[in-house]
Symmetry: C2
Subunit: 458 residues, 2 copies
């Protein structure tokens, strides 16, 4: 094991250069004009995984391909670890807000700035390098490993569940390890106890046959922009709660222990406020900020477009308005139910004179972890050894829809430990990954593989 | 006079070709990248006005130039007519909704489709051709004429009032004639009794320092998109009235006679609904559709932009949202007062955790006409003779801010008679002008010049 850690230390420079190569490929899964780059990203990753010592296949799906790497030398008695990650990234817009170009990784103040550095290429690549460290030094691993890297996580993983269902035997495992999350704070490694689900929609409001002159028609027809605003405003009440009737029916109340653990974490609303540059935090009355993020659902506008938005004053009465609106869900909410509630609400609140249309873009189920047992212990030890401090349990405000699907289909628990840091601009301009976490994280993962083998043998 | 009308008949083909040339120049005043084209449009117009027999200057302003054409051969005892129009046009977006390109005039079913065909190049050019018809046939006009064509009407005429103030003697006149409006219906010529004013704003809502991940932060901060929707929704009450406290204080109630004239016009809500393709009309309770359009103020979203609006699902919590919102004003409202009321309202309703910013884009005062006297009689006769039916009085829902300014500064009444038709897509894709109205309108204007001279001599 110490050989593997030495190997990592010795090769960090090369690992960094390789990561930069990976980050330079604009594998934007949401945009079809980047399909070739997304494929190239998969092939590039497959080559590096082969060099690390895995047997690798790039498997076509109806969308972007899945890269599957395997090493099964630990034998039938050793546990099998399924490592899941994704090589696709979010669109980088708005480009003008990036200090350095999104697909030209740039180091500043100990951070690697690039789209995908934290989410998830950087973290996925840490696993590849941890595996390489073992295989290059001892020629072996204490566990069997299957690495599954998909290229559609950022568009809702439409082809992953069918893929899992079609390869249940090949993917059979004892534990699923995912590094696509963050640490609670710098120097404070963390293991996740929850993830929120997602129900992402486009609401379209249609008015007249064509755009109208706002002078010639203003006041006599319902304006889709005004109507859409009314609709969106009606999604919350004045307590910051989501106003769809029945929305909270399936929201589980968390146990006092978890809420106490959350309350015990080092968190300052004032610091968060200052970091974000806002005068006040906001949200659902009766819950703390971390509770609002981790154990309560929410509803956000992700985008909105209507009429004329360029320079100057165009006196148009637009005939169409669109908003991208997403709900973060908590156990036991389901996207299908939320869609029904939203449709019922749209029928109720949409003013006369316009029509609505609801498009479901993607969704994912919320998740609640089992944070105990040998795999959890292995992770806790590996993180403590690599970072010099015990990991804390934390919730995840984001969504990794596949987690629940893996657990149900493979009958294996998921272990979520990641290395991005608060403020790392996930899905925003200037996304970054800490250089220190990239380096310590590879060590932590190498230790994790070691301890997963040891704990399973207990 | 009959020579002039014969001349018009004979030259209609050439007039049409010239108009097409005029319409091909994309003189989009709101967009600085079209500044050269806007200038070219002014020069082109000046050349045609010279050919018509006017003395013409293209006068620089701080923005787009003003084209001034003069013919003063009628002598000091004849009345002087100031003809006002504009050679700039609205932006053509959204381009994909145009059946034929906006700057490639195309005739279909008796209509000339092009940006500016109705608003206002086509109508302005009709005046030029009516003047040419007189000067080419009799070498003279019964009135002195000053034609003032500006290139900034679509951006609020920022340099026109200073220009008028600087040229009061040169622009001195007995009546201002403007053809930048429409007829109440096909075959039914009209003279305007009112115009609404305009107060056009951009409301910006700012949140965190940068865009955030909607999973990592959703539920803990106020979303500018949601906040903007709340703000816009709060601008109306459930009676369709504008909910800014004090907004209606300066709205004059119109007299019973005018309301009776409005009620007597041939109008069908059902037909309007069907033409527009909406299930219901909307607006302020207690007023008819025409009243809502002509004598009541309104508030419309003209554009809205926030976050990610491209293909796919980006889970971003945007840090900025913008709406273009404009109010149509009626006598005696003022844009300055509305701005104050809106600012007070924004202070009241903007939720904690975001900040607002209000930009005033442009405005214009509402207008109420004097529809009696010799000039009105001249217009009524000219229209009846050209179209074979008495003109009706109608209100204007749109704004021509300069009308009030002309009247006040030049101490002359404004006479608004125009030739566009309902449904002609002003400020929208597929703007058109009726070929028949272009042709009859030139005749009507030639008759108008004749009768303005005759009535003044009464």
């Amino acid at each position: 094991m110490s050989d593997a850690l030495t190997f990592i230390d010795t090769n960090l420079g090369r690992f960094r250069e390789e990561l930069n190569e990976f980050l330079r490929i604009p594998s934007i899964s949401a945009k079809s004009e980047y399909d070739d780059e997304t494929s190239r990203s998969a092939e590039w990753l497959a080559s590096r995984m082969r060099e690390a010592g895995l047997e690798v296949e790039v498997l076509a799906t109806e969308g972007h391909p899945i890269v599957l790497g395997e090493w099964r030398g630990a034998g039938a008695n050793a546990p099998t670890v399924l490592v899941y990650g994704h090589y696709d990234v979010q669109p980088p817009e708005p480009l003008e807000l990036w200090t350095s170009p999104p697909f030209e990784p740039t180091e500043r103040e100990g951070r690697i700035y690039a789209r995908g550095s934290a989410d998830d290429k950087g973290q996925l690549y840490m696993h590849v390098k941890a595996l390489e460290a073992h295989l290059a030094t001892s020629g072996s691993l204490p566990v069997n490993v299957v690495v599954l890297a998909e290229g559609e996580e950022e568009v809702g993983s439409p082809n992953l569940v069918p893929f899992v269902d079609a390869h249940l035997e090949r993917l059979a495992c004892d534990v699923v390890v995912i590094s696509d999350t963050g640490m609670f704070a710098e120097g404070l490694p963390s293991i996740l106890f929850s993830l929120r689900g997602l129900a992402y929609f486009e609401i379209h409001v249609h008015g007249a046959r064509s755009d109208l002159h706002s002078g010639e028609f203003g006041g006599s027809v319902m304006n889709p922009g005004n109507a859409l605003s009314q609709i969106i405003a009606s999604l919350h009440d004045d307590q910051g709660r989501i106003a769809l009737p029945g929305f909270y029916d399936d929201v589980v109340e968390w146990d006092a222990e978890t809420r106490a653990q959350i309350a015990a974490l080092p968190h300052s609303d004032d610091e968060t406020r200052e970091e974000l540059g806002v005068a006040a935090l906001a949200g659902e009355q009766g819950f703390s900020t971390l509770e609002r993020l981790w154990i309560r659902p929410t509803c956000d506008v992700n985008g909105m477009l209507c009429g004329y938005t360029d320079e100057g004053a165009k006196t148009v009465l637009p005939n169409h308005a669109m908003a991208k609106v997403s709900f973060r869900l908590v156990p036991d909410q389901s996207g299908a139910k939320v869609k029904e509630l939203l449709e019922a609400h749209l029928r109720n609140v949409t003013p006369a004179g316009v029509t609505w249309e609801l498009k479901e873009l993607h969704g994912g189920r919320p998740w609640k972890a089992r944070i105990e047992g040998p795999y959890f212990d292995a992770a806790a030890e590996a993180l403590e050894e690599a970072f010099g401090t015990k990991p804390v349990p934390m919730g995840g405000g984001g969504s990794i829809p596949i987690v629940v699907e893996f657990e149900e289909r493979l009958h294996a628990p998921a272990l979520l430990l990641g290395f991005s840091l608060p403020g790392c601009n996930l899905h925003a301009p200037n996304e970054w990954l800490s250089v220190e976490n990239f380096e310590k994280g590879i060590g932590a993962l190498a230790l994790l593989y070691d301890k997963l083998g040891a704990h399973a043998a207990d």
